[in-house]
């Protein structure tokens, strides 16, 4: 189970911890290792970008079935949640275990109002992409300047 909370006031400390972890890891081509700061990390990580008409949200969810992910928009909040089932088989014979399984939940505020009726979410090759058309009121528009 890795439903986690984000506390923005702690963010700078986690960033420093992450950087230290990165430097330690940079010595070898080795497994990512756990640190005490992991509890501050949210899953799945999200990337968000936009153009004039749409907002795009993406998450890496390898091995997650489409039926196990839900995407909801309520007002200005986007909620992505679901579960990742273990596919690695018999737990007794693990030689190495780095992949995590369980329930996940992320909620983020969208940068602009969106048209909730026209949201599309696709899961392809383990990558979730949510495309949210901006609400008419939020679209950038060019204002014609009249000569008088």
């Amino acid at each position: 189970m890795f439903t986690l909370m984000r506390n923005p006031t702690m963010r700078p400390y986690h960033d420093v911890a992450r950087e230290m972890s990165r430097m330690l890891d940079a010595f070898a081509n080795r497994a990512p290792f756990d640190s005490m700061f992991d509890a501050a990390v949210t899953f799945p990580a999200l990337n968000l970008w936009e153009d004039d008409h749409k907002v795009f949200v993406e998450a890496e969810l390898p091995g997650v079935a489409a039926k196990d992910v839900e995407v909801k928009v309520h007002g200005n909040e986007l909620h992505i949640f679901g579960k990742r089932e273990s596919t690695s088989g018999d737990k007794r014979n693990f030689q190495r275990q780095e992949r995590v399984f369980g329930e996940f939940s992320r909620m983020i505020s969208l940068p602009t109002p969106v048209d909730a009726e026209k949201i599309e979410a696709t899961l392809k090759d383990g990558v979730l992409t949510v495309i949210l058309p901006k609400a008419e009121t939020a679209k950038a528009r060019k204002i014609a300047v009249k000569a008088v």
Binding site: R18, D25, A31, P32, V41, E50, P62, R99
Partner: protein, 131 residues
């Protein structure tokens, strides 16, 4: 680069031979012994069967997954919590495996590699003869 449990890890620069621009990432793996084979499960989201290479040379097994850019260049980043790039990881494989029988499949961004054990190392039942 954070190498915690739930985040994506960049490949340390010292171990990468860069074939093209961009950062590469170390996929998370599970390694499980199951019956007469060792299984490696690797998370390589965004990689299709056409874009994965598996090389085995002198005991080193290397997985490379090429990840096409997914974001259109005409867009603006609002925030980014992970990087997108190719995946690469190398494993040392002992002598007890039959390299000619290695095979793999990929599904929903998870690569499953099957490494069958050499005949001589497989568990076997010894028949006990009556006198």
């Amino acid at each position: 680069m954070n190498c915690g449990t739930m985040t994506k890890c960049e490949t340390p620069a010292s171990t990468v031979e860069q074939a093209r621009a961009g950062q590469t990432y170390v996929p998370r793996v599970d390694i499980v012994e199951q019956g007469d084979e060792m299984l490696i499960f690797a998370d390589i989201p965004g990689v299709t069967a056409q874009n994965v290479d598996i090389d085995f040379d002198k005991g080193a097994l290397t997985i490379t997954g090429r990840v096409p850019q997914r974001r259109n260049g005409h867009t603006r980043e609002v925030f980014s919590e992970y990087g997108v790039g190719d995946f690469r990881r190398t494993f040392q494989v002992g002598d007890g495996f039959d390299a000619s029988q290695f095979h793999a499949e990929i599904s929903h961004g998870v690569l499953t590699l099957h490494l069958p054990k050499a005949q001589s190392l497989r568990a076997r039942k010894i028949a006990v003869k009556g006198a």
